[in-house]
Subunit: 211 residues, 2 copies
């Protein structure tokens, strides 16, 4: 039996942050598919009461407990398994800083843009234009950072990299030009080259979506 | 001389998270005004190179070091001063979870909505409608949480409450109806009643904006 059960679905890059981490760390885990699109499982009262009051994926089960929020799950996993853990107080601060920034500025806008344009096929609108401008600003900050460092904290990948990588490998159109961010793109290739890397659609259940 | 210098400006609720915390904790601090609106100081290359590569406020200076990202600053302050610190591993996890959620879902949409509608006087648009719908969903999650608990972690306020309170006291119009979230509104009054509470425009420099 797996030590870890991950409530997830293939299209969720926030779930992929944890799935990719577990895979790269070589930890035994089992996915538990969440029917987000058709049944709206995360929005149901039962989910909110029993699994996550925030109504979100991923949720990790381990030792009879449930953990939610990808950044908190990654921090907890690093503390408890040692894999991809920041070393020392300074690195711990730096990892937390980037986890928060990822949630606020990087994943958030890019993931929503990809949801609207890539999955819902919304077409262009003032909202997608707004999200893309914000995503571009965040990509530029990350690109500048990776000009100086191969991974967020330096020479080695850490939980902060897995957080930033949540939506980096999906292929849907978003109108973002990764080639315009060469250092960020090179970091993405370093993440793809990590042992254990699997594309999110192959790693988590629920792809393709039913027509 | 103050132990803490906070780079901030009156209109930044993300800076207020830390300013309000320092005030309520009774820690000696001095504001250092950042010219965000006119000179665009946080977007300048010098700021990005010397203060915060993320181009953000707040930045806290202490002991010759600079700390950025409000959620990381609050976590660090709690660890180093003990004020409003989560107690034990379980509370630390819970505080981190809400700090991340605040950055991703609560502050982020509401702060941007207030920036557009309240400060820029943008009027209504598909973007403000999008942001308001997201803010309403986040307000509902917080409201439900505060039906069961007076503060995020329970009986006592913690750093997670200061994070959520960043934009709670600004008076600009946002089109959000706080009265529709009675438990969240009651929590806001509990935060306002904390010793040391001061309105953000009285606590940080730069209000009012020049016409």
């Amino acid at each position: 039996m797996s030590q870890y059960t991950l409530h997830c679905f293939a299209q969720s890059g926030n779930a992929y942050k944890v799935a990719f981490y577990l895979q790269a760390a070589g930890l035994p885990w089992t996915p538990r598919w969440v029917d987000y699109f058709k049944a709206g499982e995360t929005r149901a009262a039962a989910w909110r009461e029993q699994v996550s009051e925030m109504g979100e994926v991923p949720v990790l089960e381990h030792g009879g407990r449930r953990y939610s929020q990808s950044g908190a799950i990654l921090t907890w996993l690093a503390e408890h398994t040692g894999h991809f853990a920041p070393e020392g107080a300074e690195e711990r601060y730096e990892a937390l800083r980037w986890l928060l920034w990822d949630n606020h500025k990087f994943t958030s806008y890019y993931a929503t843009l990809r949801f609207l344009v890539g999955l819902q096929k919304s077409g262009e609108s003032p909202v997608t234009e707004f999200l893309r401008m914000r995503a571009q600003a965040a990509f530029a900050v990350a690109d500048k950072h990776f000009e100086a460092k191969p991974f967020v904290l330096g020479a080695k990948p850490s939980i902060a990299d897995f957080s930033l990588a949540g939506y980096a490998f999906y292929d849907e159109e978003t109108g973002m030009d990764w080639a315009a961010y060469p250092a960020l793109s090179a970091w993405r290739e370093r993440m793809r080259a990590l042992p254990g890397w699997v594309h999110p659609y192959a790693l988590m259940p629920g792809h393709p979506l039913p027509a």
